[in-house]
């Protein structure tokens, strides 16, 4: 195991040297002594080479897209183009301050304005805020907008949001954060929202529904129009979680099939890097009637140029980010959309769907797949059979995949499939790479039968063996104990 950076520390060593002091005012002149720190913070003392070696060594312990397939369902781990990384590092982006005079920001604002427009078109909706810093913050923003809408309409009795049982955990958590109660809508045998149960749940208290479409089983909600009619009949709103938008580009516009608002995950659908857990970006698109509630500011255009406009300040939900959102992520998504255009985006979804169906076809013989119909961009396998017959869990299978050079699928999600393995290959994977993954999954299926201990003990070839997460909870160790 690698030492921590603190253990590489040597007193007096430096990674970077600052210019000599041109102005030397003593601290005692500037501050009262009672404000000052008495003991220096024990940050590491390391050279640039020490630092580089340490973090490059750590980097070798990661799985990442360029290393191998990353089939995490609903995470859309597609390839992140390198051109984005080069272009975003232009000083005219990196060194822009949010309080610069507007006339010195016209390029940045123009880019944001065009991205707002393009995302609105992809959604089939009227307007977009780019402010949310992540998908979950997009959800929060969207639910705030729903609350603001009902407040204006005097719908004060509306206190509940309906969420299907296949939804991401962020959905109910985002609703709670806004102050809504949530009720769970069961799925039917076909893996879709159960319309009869929906009718039972919907009443005057219903403020809206949050639907991931296609849902986390990789299935399109076929009866979406009927759902919309039921929801709209009580003046509730239709929210689409756009986590799975990679299946719909140029095929369906959510705004045209009954949804009133949605969020995007630019780090999924629009190929910006996940960064090991952010920064992402979660813009929200809304229909005409929800425009007044968008966070401030939005980018507008007139004959004088582009502006950060807070015109809707009085009706707006306010702000969810200190400034205008994750601009550096927006630049990457902008480039992606401009390069692909309408035809390219449609091709993205077509190939995402083709690749998922191909893999499903390859693996159906070895792993149980509950819903026997073409999937959209992802599908869910169930390892219950392996568990029952060989005592091998989905967790074991996931860990064994790591030995074979692949990341595991999303596991134990959606919750309605007990030993779920949710696979999303994305359109950027080639047929050869899908075949290699399918071969690995087949090998594991055979190992479950012939050599179950091997699977239960996996992984064996990774930088560390199976990690004891129960111990991490019991004996909480959140920091390295620094020496005095």
């Amino acid at each position: 195991m690698s030492k921590t950076i603190f253990e590489h520390s040597t007193p007096g060593r430096k990674g970077v040297v600052l210019p000599e002091r041109e102005i030397d005012i003593p601290l005692a002149t500037m501050f009262s002594e009672t404000m000052l720190r008495t003991k220096k913070a024990r940050l590491p003392e390391v050279s640039e080479l020490d630092t580089m070696r340490h973090y490059i060594t750590l980097s070798h312990k990661n799985h990442f897209i360029e290393k191998g397939l990353y089939p995490l369902g609903s995470c859309t781990m597609k390839y992140n183009p390198k051109l984005h990384e080069t272009l975003v590092r232009h000083p005219s982006f990196t060194s822009l301050h949010p309080y610069q005079p507007e006339e010195t920001l016209q390029g940045a604002l123009e880019l944001m304005y065009e991205l707002q427009k393009d995302l609105a078109e992809i959604a089939g909706m009227a307007g977009v805020t780019l402010q949310p810093a992540a998908g979950a913050q997009g959800e929060f923003t969207g639910i705030k907008i729903i609350a603001a809408y009902h407040k204006v309409k005097g719908n004060t009795h509306k206190d509940t949001i309906i969420i299907p049982d296949s939804a991401h955990g962020t959905n109910p958590a985002s609703c709670s954060l806004v102050g809504y109660k949530t009720v769970e809508l069961a799925s039917n045998k076909e893996g879709r929202c159960d319309i009869a149960k929906l009718r039972e749940l919907v009443n005057d208290q219903t403020a809206g529904i949050m639907i991931t479409n296609p849902n986390t089983l990789g299935l399109f909600e076929t009866q979406i129009e009927e759902i919309a009619d039921i929801i709209h009949s009580v003046d509730a709103l239709m929210y689409m979680d756009g986590a799975n938008l990679n299946a719909l580009l140029g095929i369906v516009q959510p705004g045209k099939i009954g949804f009133d608002l949605m969020h995007f995950n630019l780090h999924k659908t629009f190929a910006t890097p996940h960064g090991g857990g952010g920064p992402g970006s979660g813009p929200v698109a809304v229909s005409e009637k929800l425009l007044p509630f968008l966070p401030v500011p939005v980018v507008t255009k007139d004959e004088k140029g582009y502006h950060l406009s807070s015109e809707n300040e009085l009706t707006s939900i306010g702000k969810v980010h200190t400034f205008y959102g994750n601009f550096a992520v927006l630049v990457r998504a902008y480039i992606y959309i401009k390069m692909l255009g309408a035809e390219g985006l449609r091709r993205v979804s077509e190939n995402a769907i083709l690749n998922a169906n191909y893999l499903m076809q390859c693996l159906g013989e070895y792993y149980h797949i509950e819903h026997q119909e073409p999937c959209m961009h992802e599908f869910v396998m169930d390892g219950t059979w392996q568990k029952k017959n060989y005592g091998i869990t989905t967790l074991d299978i996931a860990k064994r995949l790591l030995d074979k050079g692949f990341h595991s699928p999303t596991i134990y999600f959606p919750l309605i499939i007990p030993e779920a393995m949710m696979v999303e290959p994305t359109e950027t994977e080639s047929l050869e790479s899908l075949d290699a993954f399918a071969a690995a999954m087949r090998e594991i299926a055979l190992e479950c039968k012939d050599n179950p201990e091997l699977v239960k003990n996996a992984p064996l070839t990774t930088p560390v063996k199976r990690v004891d997460d129960a111990r991490a909870v019991k004996m909480l160790e959140p920091v390295f104990p620094l020496a005095d």
């Binding site: 123009e110 369906v252 073409p374 047929l431």
Partner: protein, 447 residues
């Protein structure tokens, strides 16, 4: 088509393997009438060559701080970033990885987060930190929500000296949860402590201190401690500039129960205000009430040291509607920038950054105040690297007049009802010559 691997031949092969004739056969679940009849109305696709030109047309219309003499702050600051930071952060091993759920192939990410948490705890003096938040604003909001989970008291006091953008975000985050926000008034650029004392009673769940505050002034943190902790249940939430912590008393020493702040200053580009990242540290007894990811040390099956996401039972993917937060990602790559930055600067270097920023800010203030008509708005307050100047004409006019000379003079406080006040930030990046030329330009413009 860029970034799509399948050729037409592959496509046919796939269709055959699946057993359908054409792609549309896979869309049977989407009712025909819901499908788009015509393509999306987007501009023609651009090649790599063309997008380079498209982006250049954009960057040409921006005038970034790098090519001017900028004194802008207000939450985002132009500190020096060593080149090695980007050399690490741009590595695909870190950049294109997912949230480290599969610990065995994510030790790189997990260990740097562990090191990040250690550094945040060392700087703030608190015992446990999470893996990061979206920004300083949401970190404060989540701190208030955590305080409510702890003491079930639903009133929070924000100082009038808090960054106004933070106030807006805090409002958005708290208003649906029945939390009442009270504002402690400002006096001479600082929180009015006697007013704060009068506002406090046993219904107040948390009090925020921002120091240095929005105006750059250093609040009397010890006095906050005394006033706030008279009520043993009330939590003190400190929002701090982490660079300042190299020289200033860590929040734990004035008994801040939660320490948060904006982390952009640690090795992250300004990028027009995003991405930013928030840091969040607290007492160990509140570990299970915290929002966000936490990495913990443990061992693997062979007894070797390993790291893993821990205390996940708090989180949305487990607890759903009852989670401590809806937060999912944690601006991880920005915290990696912070870790690498703090390694390169190190124990002495961060002190030097803080000291030189303060020295240069004080020099700038001293020189500006020699100009007739200019004076500090808050002459009796201590400040760190940012200060407010009273101007003889509208700050807006001064700012406008200096733009052609490639100077961004500062922030106009007119939106806060202070049209003749200019807020100026100075970091270690400014040379004396740059400051002197700014001072000279100011002299011209206020004549």
């Amino acid at each position: 088509m860029p970034y799509i691997s399948n050729t037409e031949r592959d496509r046919q092969k796939i269709l055959k393997a699946i057993g359908v004739n054409k792609f549309e056969d896979l869309l049977t679940a989407i009712p025909e009438k819901l499908r788009m009849k015509s393509p999306l109305a987007l501009s023609q696709p651009l090649s790599e060559l063309e997008i380079n030109k498209n982006i250049k047309a954009k960057t040409d219309k921006n005038i970034p701080c790098e090519v001017v003499n900028s004194f802008l702050g207000g939450g985002v600051y132009d500190h020096f970033i060593p080149a090695a930071v980007d050399a690490i952060v741009s590595r695909p091993e870190f950049c294109t990885a997912y949230t480290p759920y599969q610990a065995e192939v994510s030790q790189g990410t997990l260990q740097y987060i562990f090191e990040y948490q250690t550094m945040i705890c060392e700087l703030t003096g608190r015992e446990i930190a999470n893996a990061g938040m979206y920004d300083g604003a949401s970190a404060i909001a989540e701190a208030i929500l955590m305080a409510v989970r702890k003491n079930h008291l639903t009133k929070a006091i924000l100082p009038a000296t808090l960054n106004p953008n933070y106030v807006k975000v805090v409002k958005a985050y708290t208003e649906g949860n029945g939390i009442e926000l009270l504002i402690a008034p400002e006096k001479d650029g600082l929180t009015d402590l006697s007013a704060l004392e009068n506002m406090l009673n046993d219904t107040i769940g948390s009090v925020i201190i921002q120091t240095p505050n929005f105006y750059g002034n250093i609040e009397d943190a010890k006095a906050f401690d005394t006033i706030v902790h008279k009520n043993p249940n009330c939590l003190l939430i400190a929002c701090v500039d982490p660079i300042s912590l190299a020289i200033f008393m860590p929040p734990a020493e004035y008994n801040a129960d939660i320490a948060v702040g904006e982390g952009q200053v640690f090795g992250n580009n300004m990028y027009f205000g995003g991405p930013l990242f928030g840091f969040f540290a607290t007492r160990p007894e509140m570990a299970r009430l915290m929002p966000g990811r936490i990495v913990g040390g443990t061992i693997d099956k062979d007894g070797n040291k390993a790291y893993v996401l821990t205390l996940q039972a708090r989180e949305q993917h487990i607890r759903r509607a009852k989670a401590t937060s809806n937060i999912c990602s944690n601006e991880s790559l920005c915290t990696l920038s912070a870790v690498v930055y703090l390694c390169l600067l190190g124990k002495e270097g961060l002190i030097e950054v803080a000291t030189q920023s303060a020295q240069k800010a004080h020099y700038t203030a001293n020189e500006l105040c020699k100009i007739p008509g200019l004076a500090l708005t808050y002459p009796n307050a201590y400040f760190f690297k940012e200060f407010v100047l009273k101007t003889p004409k509208k700050a807006e006019e001064i700012i406008k007049a200096l733009v052609p000379g490639n100077i961004y003079a500062g922030i106009d406080l007119a939106p806060l009802g202070k049209p003749d006040e200019l807020m100026i930030a100075v970091t270690e990046k400014k040379s004396k010559a740059e400051i002197d030329s700014f001072v000279q330009a100011m002299q011209e413009v206020v004549k």
